[in-house]
């Protein structure tokens, strides 16, 4: 039995390219990875948004209304609902003049208890150091 930790690090902004969306969809696919693994084995992913990537976390995105495509904040809410830790770099939030009330902080679902953690970059780096693999988007 083994658990492998995977870090999904996102530094690309949303929508201009598909990159940050792919980070979220790949991270969320951890929900069904067990079908390929031995009993007891699993992966433990977390998501960290740094640099321009913190813009993915702005809430009330309207891409579904405007373009008919799911928004990145919807995916982040799902990640929180499915139990993925979501870290957002505190310094980069400040850099963009964003505040906690402008960021997706929870799943907005009655069963979702996990909250987004706005933490200094040094804390994100510590989390990365505990990972088996780092996937940089």
């Amino acid at each position: 039995m083994a658990i492998k930790k995977l870090a999904f690090i996102v530094d690309k902004p949303p929508y201009k390219t598909e990159t940050s969306r792919l980070a979220l969809t790949h991270a969320l696919s951890s929900q069904s990875v067990e079908i390929y693994l031995k009993d007891g084995d699993n992966v433990e992913p977390f998501l960290a948004f740094i640099g321009d990537g913190v813009l993915n976390c702005v809430k009330n995105q309207k891409s579904l209304t405007m373009y008919g495509v799911t928004s990145l904040d919807m995916h982040i809410r799902n990640a929180l609902l499915f139990g993925l830790n979501v870290y957002v770099c505190e310094e980069d939030i400040m850099k963009f003049g964003l505040t906690e009330d402008m960021i997706v902080m929870d799943s907005d679902h009655p069963d979702g208890e996990l909250k987004t953690q706005i933490i200094p970059y040094t804390e994100i780096q510590k989390a990365m150091e505990t990972c088996d693999h780092i996937l940089f988007f």
Binding site: L6, K12, E18, L22, H26, L37, D132, L135
Partner: protein, 119 residues
Amino acid sequence: MGKLTIGIFSSLIGSMSLDFALKLAEAAINKGHEVNFWVSGNATMLSKKAQRAYRDYSFLEKKVKELMERGVNFTACEACSEARGYHKEETMEGWKRHHMDWYLASCFDSDRVLHIGGE
């Protein structure tokens, strides 16, 4: 010898990242390592058959077939392919198509993961 997973997200045309990733896979195979090669997003373009060679553009179908024969496991994201209209019948022979969880499973039992992001 080790197991390497290469995950790549860049398109066949418009970037040289796929060219580089295949060279990397070849180098790993030459050293006796096992290689899983995952394409997602725009990189699924690599899995499309009947690519035509022009000197102005990367032409990698031949290299893919060569590496496949040498044991590199090529797998494309099914959802990313279908979203782009690359259907199973248009996929190069020998490619597998799976959902994204396959990539994470490959990461699980790989000694190293080289993740080469998108544009």
